[in-house]
């Protein structure tokens, strides 16, 4: 059995209330898995490790979580597993585990992932962590299960950022991918929009209106220190990091219309990229750094184009419909997600870049700001229920959706890079 000692550093200990989780939709062809509630003594943590694991797996869209309560034996040790009981439930995989006190106030979390058909162990691990790290440990376990069963890395240990408006106050928040452990990294009485993760996940660039106009800041998530990236005459907005983290594409107006520019990550070396009288905005780099996708109305209506960061002519990418905005390329470079307006509805669309095939994957009507998870399999976006903004997470094929909701008015989500 692999033995892991995980040490985590928590920099923002203040925790506000977590997002509630609400799952909508469901799909066939998912891996049937049983997660037996871990043997977790009360008082160790208010949160159940196995519940977090099960919710993570369900949210991905790749798993069907089986009801385990009716099964006669509830195993926590390998020796307690009676495989026929789980075959009868048609489970392909089974997860068991326990949480128990360890030395120095720590807790020990043990889990095993079992192949029910082969009656063999696929993974087994033990974590010795502080009780405050249990949530992280649960996400780590879900990542291991996801990777063993799908062959691809999980994203449950990654983070998201979003803006929460409560009354007249705006908070820039960083949270776990499931909305848990939200940490406020900036509070303001003026709007905050367009947070963007640096590729290494240590910094956020964002637009703040605190100087009574849009100005771009870059803030370290480790030190909390920040600096002005761009405060030129007019609007400064829509920051997007290059894949190497050395430059950003931004949008400046210089008093005129919105155009793309490039700027070094330290705020030096600004150079214009696009020109003309049309609106050019919302840049997003392809992962190979060769293209910058962006929104432009140069053709008469807002559509998605791409331009080389070296300059030259832009190429139009979307043609269907009269309003396609907010492009974000998947980290594997194969897909583009964006917002399409059709019959008065603003919905999340996904386009396969190689074939140009696209489809709408949301069923709501006021969607904004879609972005891919680091494994390109899930998309987070903002939508609204009544007059309130909420976040939604969907599998990239649109089959499984989950709402992350919080008190207030939540918007501008962005999914962070892979956990290191």
């Amino acid at each position: 059995m692999t033995r892991l000692l995980l040490v985590f550093l928590f920099l923002f200990p203040a925790i506000s209330h977590a997002l509630d989780i609400e799952i909508v939709g469901g799909a066939a062809q998912q891996i049937p898995i049983a997660v037996v509630p871990f043997n977790q003594p009360p008082g160790v943590s208010p949160e159940s490790v196995s519940t977090i694991v099960a919710n993570d797996l369900r949210r991905s869209g790749f798993f069907r979580l089986l009801e385990t309560r009716g099964v006669a034996t509830q195993p926590h040790e390998l020796s307690e597993v009676k495989y026929p009981e789980w075959s009868a439930l048609q489970a392909q995989a089974l997860t068991i585990g326990k949480v128990e006190p360890s030395s120095g106030g720590h807790v020990k979390v043990t889990f095993r992932l079992l192949d029910v058909l082969k009656q063999s162990q696929l993974a087994g691990m033990e974590f010795d962590v502080a009780p405050t790290q249990l949530r992280k440990t649960a996400h780590k376990i879900a990542d291991i299960i996801y990777e063993k069963l799908t062959g691809e890395p999980g994203v449950f240990s990654t983070r998201i950022t979003y803006v929460n408006k409560t009354g007249k106050h705006y908070s820039l928040v960083v949270a776990d991918a499931d909305g848990g452990s939200p940490q406020t990294v900036l509070s303001s009485t003026e709007p905050i929009i367009s947070p963007a993760w640096s590729p290494d996940g240590t910094k956020l660039a964002y637009v703040s209106f605190e100087k009574k106009k849009p100005v771009i800041f870059v803030q370290s998530l480790t030190s909390g220190q920040r600096y002005v990236l761009a405060n030129f005459k007019g609007n400064n907005s829509a920051p997007a990091w290059s894949p190497d983290g050395k430059r950003l594409a931004i949008v400046l107006t210089h008093g005129g219309n919105s155009r793309l520019s490039l700027i070094n990550a330290d705020g030096t070396g600004m150079q214009p990229l696009s020109s003309g009288s049309a609106i050019d905005t919302e840049p997003d780099w392809s992962p190979d750094g060769k293209w910058i996708y962006f929104t432009s109305d140069r053709g008469g209506s807002p559509q998605i184009y791409k331009i080389s960061p070296l300059g030259g002519d832009a190429q139009r990418v979307t043609f269907e419909g009269s309003y396609n905005v907010s492009p974000h390329v998947s980290p594997d470079g194969k897909w583009l997600t964006y917002i399409r307006r059709d019959s008065g509805k603003f919905q999340v669309a996904v386009r396969e870049l190689a074939s140009g095939q696209s489809q709408v994957i949301s069923d709501s009507t006021q969607d904004e700001s879609p972005s891919f998870a680091p494994n390109s399999r899930m998309i987070i976006y903002a939508t609204s229920v009544g007059n309130r903004g909420i976040l939604s997470v969907t599998s990239a094929d649109g089959r499984v959706k989950q709402r992350l909701s919080e008190m207030g008015d939540v918007r501008e989500p962005s999914w962070g890079p892979a956990a290191n």
């Binding site: 929009i193 609007n235 907005s237 905005t281 919302e282 309003y323 007059n387």
Partner: protein, 186 residues
């Protein structure tokens, strides 16, 4: 003629409807003034200062003679409205733009901020750009009428500062606008 009249009555009704909303939003202005972390201004000091300025202004000139504040003067009208995803200054707002242009030409020391806004549908960044283009459209119209570039500042709030927050056509229409704000008014 009649159509125009009905139009302006409707607009007036709309403004009244939304001004009742503004009452609720009144504290917003005060909170924005403070923005403590940001401007590092002491909020207690900032507010009395504002009222002092108003008092001296009132002493300096007869308020009723200020054409910018006179409700019977077109110069007191400050909002130019736009169609969805459009930045064209519509004919009905020409007289308003012309009146302000004329005032600015006659008062070369006066300065305005043209604040562009958009309704909240669609992309926030695109709406920021759209609000900017609306403010530039009004600026260009004023430039043509002889207003010096130095007297005009364009700024966009996109969909971030809605005057009306309901999801209705009337509200969206109210939010698609450029406000003419004279220096010292905000």
């Amino acid at each position: 003629m009649n159509k125009q009249l009905i139009g302006s009555v409707l607009l007036a009704a709309l403004l009244v409807a939304c001004s009742s909303k503004q009452v609720k939003e009144e504290p917003k202005a005060a909170v924005e003034e403070k923005s403590p972390a940001v401007t590092a201004k002491a909020p207690e000091a900032a507010q009395p200062q504002t009222s002092t300025a108003q008092t001296s202004a009132a002493n300096d000139q007869n308020v009723s003679l200020n054409p910018l504040k006179d409700p019977n003067n077109i110069l007191s009208k400050r909002s130019i409205y736009f169609d969805f995803d459009k930045d064209e200054v519509k004919a009905e707002f020409r007289p308003l733009v012309e009146a302000h242009a004329k005032y600015l030409v006659a008062h070369p020391d006066a300065k305005v901020a043209l604040q562009g806004n958009a309704d909240d549908r669609g992309s926030r960044e695109y709406n920021l750009a759209l609000g900017q283009r609306r403010s530039v459209a009004v600026k260009k119209a004023m430039n043509v009428l002889g207003v010096n570039d130095k007297q005009i500042e364009t700024v966009s709030y996109g969909e971030e500062k809605p005057r009306c927050s309901d999801k209705t056509e009337a509200c969206w229409a109210e939010n698609r606008r450029v406000d003419v704000i004279y220096s010292g008014e905000e």
